[in-house]
Point group: C2
């Protein structure tokens, strides 16, 4: 199977799983379910879940063991976008070419839909972990919980909103990127390796892959915010500048940022060499992410 | 030890545990930590954690096995209050006699502090569960996750904000109460029983105790909102009426509501009889909650 077909297949599998996992109808809570599903199915690329499936491929781990956690991580990612877009946060009107959650469902329901997705992610992952006797599955949920929390994604977001409009040191920008975006990407790879039964060396090696990839991904995002095409991105470009956000690009300029993204991607690919052909899909995915202009 | 002394002791133990568990200082994320701690230490009565300790007493379960989950449930309760008070939700200025979180830290940081507490609750509980080989501990976290989620607290909140200012049927008000407040109170009792190694009959019996107590608690809250003393409550009374919220009291009046609270409390106490003296603390706590005017 060629890369594009495999990627498409993975994305479809994840969408199907999310669709059957997130309840869709209820006498009393129909609105919040509809609000949660609106953002989950607003056209995300499923990068984190796809990374999990690609990592599981290395170890020949059955995808049904990965799916509950891949769905969990995508729900966590989606909730963070809903809350990020809120008035009082970035106050954005569009995301992926569609009105943001609070513009459709109102601020109160958008707050609750975000809370609902975060909570349901843990509920769903724990249900699987409990049925399968805990162990490595609980370790995987813990890895994800740590990455999405105050010492990971939420910590990065707090640095972001606290420093909007203020000059930031490169050290602080790196901390923000590493945590706001990088932590969950790294956790996707690591938690999948944990579930796949990888040993400590493998988990460490793939963690390194994930963290380099995560940082490259964020720098490319910043570049696209300056040079990208509104239509392809489905959101306003130039929003970092208009929101007075310090980024890698605003500090180092486009060319240096492109070089940094390329060299981080190379380092990421280097960490995969150990796995030869078994990491073929991850190689191609990494390369694809560097060259993306969507 | 008399009841008041024991209650005070339990509250102090829980406060000490929360204090050492929630990080307090950090180079990059000091503000969000301070925001999280502000609301956690704003003077809550620790009802849910105290219920967990009282339940553990029945089974002679060491409190150190309960504490991570008691702290987790209190963090979840606190996050729900922070988000509830936000503009776009109830937009409240005071809580427990102090300015609400968003009035001190701003809306963005208050959203993140709430997210941070919810996420950290799971992180902390899972850390203990993983170290102690999962099993009943994972089952307890799952019980809590279910109760705090869309089929519990968050679901109840979504019904609340969706129906503010609208006439509500008694069935819908009951659904709202059962989930918005009752679910987490019930889960406190049930998860503590699970950790204490209680058998299925005990878990069911104590679940019944918790659900009756939770409903009584909410009705008393509604009564106090109409008849209570602002200073003692530390928040504006009459806020349900001014927010156009349908409550048990607005539908049935004060006297009938008092009767309902008393009969639910009696049912709750009845479920405890099976445990005789071992449930002495829970008896007294239940009685105390019915008669409270704080």
């Amino acid at each position: 199977m060629d890369f594009d077909t495999e990627l498409k297949q993975y994305q479809n599998d994840i969408n199907d799983y999310l669709d059957k996992t997130i309840p869709s109808d209820d006498k009393h809570i129909g609105t919040i379910l509809s609000s949660m599903r609106y953002s989950v199915f607003a056209g995300g690329k499923r990068l984190r879940p796809v990374l999990m499936l690609g990592t599981a491929e290395i170890f020949d781990c059955p995808f049904e063991n990965i799916m509950p956690y891949a769905a969990g991580i995508e729900m966590i990612h989606t909730y963070s976008l809903i809350h990020d877009d809120l008035p009082g946060m970035d106050d954005d009107d569009y995301r992926r070419g569609k009105p943001t959650n609070h513009r459709v469902y109102g601020t109160g329901m958008a707050i609750l839909a975000g809370d609902g997705l975060l909570n349901f992610a843990f509920e769903h992952m724990l249900e699987h972990a409990y049925k399968n006797n805990g162990g490595k599955y609980v370790k995987a949920v813990l890895e994800i919980a740590h990455a999405s929390g105050i010492h990971g994604m939420i910590g990065g977001q707090s640095v972001d909103i606290e420093n909007t409009g203020k000059p930031m040191s490169m050290e602080l920008i790196k901390y923000m990127h590493k945590n706001k975006t990088g932590a969950l990407i790294k956790a996707a790879v690591k938690s999948s390796a944990i579930i796949s039964g990888a040993d400590d060396d493998d988990i460490k090696r793939l963690g390194l892959y994930g963290s380099n990839l995560g940082l490259a991904f964020q720098i490319i995002d910043d570049i696209l915010d300056v040079c990208g095409d509104d239509k392809k991105l489905g959101k306003d470009t130039g929003s970092d500048a208009s929101n007075n956000k310090a980024t890698y690009v605003s500090l180092y300029g486009i060319e240096k940022s492109k070089d940094a993204a390329a060299s981080l991607t190379e380092e990421a690919i280097c960490a995969l060499k150990h796995y030869g052909d078994r990491a073929q899909f991850l190689y191609k995915l990494t390369d694809y992410l560097l060259k993306r202009d969507f």
